[in-house]
Subunit: 368 residues, 2 copies
Amino acid sequence: MKKVAVVGYGNTKFTKEVIPIESLLLESTKKVFDTTRNLSQDLVDGVIVSTNDSSKYLAAILSELSGIKPKVSHTVEHLCSSGTNAVISGFSYIASGLVDTVLITGADSVGNPGQVLEWDKSRGEFNHPIFWASLFTKAHKRQHNTSEEELAIVSVKNHKQAMDNPNAYSHNPYTISEIMNSKNVTDDLRILDCSYPCSGSSSILLATEEFAKKFTAEPIWISGIGQKTNSASFTKNELPTLSSSIMAANDAYDMAKINSKEIDVAELHDAFSVCELMAVEDLNLTEKNTGATYIRNLFNTENRKINPRGGLIGAGHPLGATGISQMIEITQQLQNKAEKRQISNAKNGLVHNMSAAGTSSTVLILES
Amino acid sequence: MKKVAVVGYGNTKFTKEVIPIESLLLESTKKVFDTTRNLSQDLVDGVIVSTNDSSKYLAAILSELSGIKPKVSHTVEHLCSSGTNAVISGFSYIASGLVDTVLITGADSVGNPGQVLEWDKSRGEFNHPIFWASLFTKAHKRQHNTSEEELAIVSVKNHKQAMDNPNAYSHNPYTISEIMNSKNVTDDLRILDCSYPCSGSSSILLATEEFAKKFTAEPIWISGIGQKTNSASFTKNELPTLSSSIMAANDAYDMAKINSKEIDVAELHDAFSVCELMAVEDLNLTEKNTGATYIRNLFNTENRKINPRGGLIGAGHPLGATGISQMIEITQQLQNKAEKRQISNAKNGLVHNMSAAGTSSTVLILES
């Protein structure tokens, strides 16, 4: 298997403005070209678009708009983890030897589909993600005696960390009491525990070891990959655990030949506050039953190890862009280019991205 | 690069009936399980869905419906060549060593999106494929003195060959005069020169060399891959040539290390009659300026080398399934299992699939 590196990237601002999908895709792609040395259109072998937008032929459209005539081009969709699915697809095209470089561009705009599992009629009116998030939250409170304050700390921390992310959707430094007193959207969920579907786009360029040198002095290697789809329906989930994330993480750690304790910085899929509390345990970043204490300690010590860019809660959640934006944050951290968000001496990073109540998950390990 | 084989397959009937996308996907997947020895759900590492349907999370839905809990799962879309894009994606997952087996299931239903390039406002009311097909046809007539009869022969041949394809949309043995006298949809295009968008689904199972032995005594190897996207807009095309197909074919022949003359059987993307006349030249299956004569000779000698299952014109064109259905036909031909459609002694086969006026193309070479 050939080695594959992240060698370039570009983000748009994440915003509540409705923006045409083609404009979003083009904007983050242009930033890759603006910031990657020696990059020209003829050096891009593949263009993979990640989105929940229902427009067709977007990879060809993005290619034409950006002057690329690629070999590989198509759209990848898998709800909220479309981004990491596209990344792994790009990885496999390069690792197999079929191509040398792949541009992966994700985007979604406010109001795009993918936020509700329309197909699952068994849910009736309860098909919005807030309902599964409520079930997870209720179960987490019951099983771990999790307090309202512990849940709020996740959101406070991530909103605070987003203050130093210039592309974040939110730049509001909420207090614990503001989170705790924010509007209840269900009995167990407050509005400020939810991530915001928004407009945004993120792009990365992947390349072989040989091509990586051309584009950057600091390639970041994708060393571990794990993916698992357990179901499409929420009914098969155990509460409050992300079983697909456990399996994906184990595979990713095995492939990277590292231990979870060696992870210096992680982007976790905090679609709702409870997801971060589950993920730190399910990915073995802390011991079972210590998730809330672990996050509280990070918060109290101003340690940005988990979700330094603000997570989905602080940065916003433009579905098709999210996984790619997570990849960019870890890449910047491992390149020591994360500015105010920088974790000192980060060598190994992790991306955790999932879909539909954690019925499927992706875990990626990156190393400098 | 690991070797990758087609080791199982399943087709539904192609029909004008409107069928739910989930039912279509499941039906061809079930046929793979019904006909592939030793195949069980736990042996499927990846589930890739190819479709233009706008429903989300279909790969997870198909996985749950069919009892598979895959690692890789997502949807691939690239208009009419979604199918071969999904095949090459599955190929690269296996060739890279990430997984051992991938199920690729394509489907579309009557009325699904993807038949019109909605985004291209510059076309005004002329955004239906019949308009680009008319431009190609007019240019072909002008440049090659192609007669109405020569165009009709493509359609007669493919409708005739579809008579022996039990899954074909059409089982009507049209005569040359019936084709020539069918309704004009534009000045240069008759209704019986058009392929039919319809409902249908096709699945193939890909596997490593090691796993291939488990599933079949006759694995068919994917030995050549070529892809090219030149644009999304028709305006950049030269007439009457499929320039992306030329590039894709050259790459595929190079990778397979074979000459076009060694191709024994080919599935070509005859979305309209003129496409087959262009493709046989652009893929170098016959000399420049001899396309119409070449097809007439095949027809007169009842040689089924080109589009033995009836092509898109005879078999129908359920967009996301088409490329996969082409793969199945070539697999059956190389396994000597194509029944009445069998080409004698076929060793090397070719699949040609394209999108949006040939602005992008895929060419795949298969060998026994």
